[in-house]
Structures are given as structure tokens and as C-alpha cells.
Subunit: 223 residues, 2 copies
């Protein structure tokens, strides 16, 4: 049975890869910089999105596509912060895939927007296997999750371009060895960008905004 | 494709259910009380296991079966605390299933032990769909994850018998509305047990130990 199951999983992943390539072309044509935002449940993805939308709009027009198992809570928060939001209700599915993003992209004109943030389902495992076709993969880690997470979720930590370590305001109250975390991350992913932030206090977010701005401007300048 | 995929998922789930039933019979014959311990990454499952093993052994003989994607770190911690541990390396799989537990149970004599703790992969989505055949499903939630998690992961919160809300020592430092959390949980799962704990300070753990002891004694008393 496990051979057969493996085959099914591989077929699903190849189909996903083909649609991800279509998404990449749609987004490139629209000159839209896009990120696939992943994290554990409760690491702070939605609060980061609220902060980011407030920090960059109205200068930039931001589209947020929200993957959520059951509610529209996160999409409502993104809209309240000033973004346009599309909700993908996964109905129990543990990750977004390229088909879901493709359907969402057909509902709007991607050329109207400057930045697309796709908020994936809170999960450190399954989303790592499904390329969406976005420009970058971004991971929100958080201090209370513990410093061993790169070792324990290597596929996720290996496949991302940018890691935001959130909730650094809690460092005095938990046992978190930043050096151990950093070494675990660098061993898996030597070229990744790491920034320490607190979405609660705002600390460290200006670097993140600058990175987004430079990427947005670069994508807008492409022919 | 999605119809076909749904069929495959249903077939996998029925196969899992049959093996879960076998596991239930093996565990009942051994009069072994067993829990399937689930949580987000970093909620504190492993620290809870260390505390529990130290709190209940050598009076009770404890077997820990560890599901982990890539490392043996957690199994080593359980052994250091005084348990016997079996490591299941899922090789990227996002949850344990009944077949994996069944294979682990054939490696030992379950009748030798008083308590079996199965530590599932850190994930609030997929483990909820795979019954292992254990006596109880236990969820470790944690304060920094946020009070909205019952609303956002209803399958998980609906299917558990006991919820430990961990890291209550962080309540003064984060925005966590305990009443909102409690109401979300009760709406989904009115009969669930909820205990507030801190594995860091030990607060609230005596109720948890008493619950385990009463269940262990009850299972040992069965004919």
C-alpha cells in the first residue's frame, strides 16, 4: 500500500508543480512581487500581515490571500488594516496548493496590486511540499516555539528565503538559545535572511519593510 | 482530479481505522492506558512528557512512542527522564497513523507497561484525522499561540478528551483572553477537560498526574 500511496502523492505534487508554473507566469506578467507566508499556528502571521499592510499602504496596493481551515477571521483583520483580501477556505485541508492560489488569482486583476501576501495554513510540515509559484517563501518562527525547530522541521526551514523570528519581546521569559537556533538554520539554509522582530512592539520591522519595498520596486521595474 | 483524490484519502482513512481497532484490542488486552498527545510545534509536548515521566515513575512504568520527522532529540529526552522510548521517524510525514503505532507495539511487550504516551508530530491539522486506537486524545495548547486556536482548528479541538493549556506563566506578557479561549473550546467540545498548566514552573500539573493515575488504575483493574 505504501508504494501505491507514494505514487499518488508524487502525481499530486507533479500536478501542483505545473499549476505553480502557471501562477509564476501570471504574477510575472503582472509585475507583482508575491510571498508565500508560512508558520506554525500562532507564530504571528496575521499580526505580521496587519503590521505590514499598515506600514506599506496606501503607498503600495496590497492583496492578501488567506488560507484558513474554517473561519474568515484573518481575512477580516487584513481588510481592517487596509488590504484587499480573498479568503480561501480549505475545508480541513492542511496546506494551500497551487490550484487554490490559481483560482483566487482569476477573481482579481493582479496587475492592479504591488504586493501579494499569501497566508498559508498554520502548519510547519505540509505547506513545505507545495510550491505555490510565488516570488519568495517566508517563514514566521516565534521565540516560544523553541530554538530546536530548524532541526525538527528541516523541509520547511530548508525551503524558505526569509525567516522572521517573532515575539523577541518574550526572550527574557523563556529558555531560548538564539545561537542554537541560528546555527540550526544556517546548517540547513546558509543563504537565508534572518530578522528578529516583535509584532507586538514593532521592533525590527523596518528591515522587513525595506526588503519588501526593494523587491516590490524591482518587480515593477521589470519589462 | 479532486474526486479521485478524495477517494484515495477515504481509502487511506478506512485502512487506518481498521488498524486502529487492532491497536485498541492489543492495548486493552495489555490493560495499558494510552494517550495520543498532539499539539502545534513548540507548545510543550516533550517538556510535558519529561515532567510526567519524572512525576509518575518509578511507581508506574512508562512507554513513550515518539513521532518525529527527522530527529531522535525527543526520544532521548524521554529516556533521560526515566521512560522507555521507541522512536518513529516519519521521514517527512505530517502525522502518525495507526500502522506506525502498530509496528512500534510489536517491538515491545505492552503488558509490561502501565502508561503509554504517543507523542504525535507537531501539527494541529493532519493528526486529527488519524485515529491511533489509544484510550484518549490529549491536546497541549499554549498561551503564546493565541486564544483563537479552537475557532481556527476545529477538527483538532473537537476530537480531544483533555486539553492542557500550557505556558500560563507567560499570561502577563501576551494578549491572551482566557474567557474567549474557554468559550471557543466549550462550543466545540462541551465535555472536554481543561487544565491550565506551566511545564516551566510545574503549576497545575498535579491535577494532570491525578487524572493519569486514576485512568492507569482503572485500566489495570479491568478483566
Amino acid at each position: 500500500m505504501s508504494q501505491q500511496r507514494l505514487q499518488v502523492v508524487q502525481n499530486i505534487l507533479s500536478a501542483n508543480e505545473a499549476i505553480a508554473e502557471t501562477n509564476r507566469q501570471i504574477l510575472a506578467k503582472a509585475r507583482l512581487f508575491s510571498i508565500n507566508l508560512m508558520a506554525s499556528p500562532g507564530a504571528g502571521k496575521t499580526t505580521l500581515i496587519e503590521r505590514t499592510v499598515r506600514g506599506l499602504s496606501p503607498r503600495y496596493r496590497i492583496l492578501v490571500i488567506e488560507g484558513d481551515i474554517a473561519t474568515t477571521l484573518d481575512a477580516e483583520r487584513a481588510v481592517a488594516a487596509g488590504a484587499t483580501a480573498i479568503q480561501i477556505n480549505t475545508g480541513g485541508n492542511c496546506h494551500l496548493d497551487a490550484v487554490m492560489l490559481n483560482r483566487a488569482l482569476t477573481q482579481i486583476d493582479p496587475g492592479y496590486f504591488d504586493l501579494l501576501i499569501v497566508e498559508n495554513v498554520g502548519n510547519l510540515v505540509c505547506p513545505a511540499s507545495f510550491d505555490l509559484g510565488t516570488s519568495a517563501n517566508v517563514l514566521v518562527a516565534s521565540v516560544p516555539e523553541g530554538h530546536d525547530k530548524p532541526h525538527k522541521y528541516p523541509s520547511m526551514y530548508r525551503g524558505v528565503d526569509y525567516v522572521l523570528l517573532n515575539k523577541i519581546d518574550l526572550l527574557p521569559y523563556v529558555d531560548f538559545d538564539l545561537d542554537f537556533f541560528r546555527k540550526g538554520l544556517e546548517a540547513l539554509n546558509p543563504n537565508v535572511e534572518l530578522r528578529l522582530i516583535s509584532c507586538r512592539t514593532g521592533e525590527g520591522l523596518s528591515d522587513w519593510y525595506q526588503w519588501l519595498e526593494s523587491k516590490i520596486e524591482y518587480h515593477r521595474s521589470l519589462d
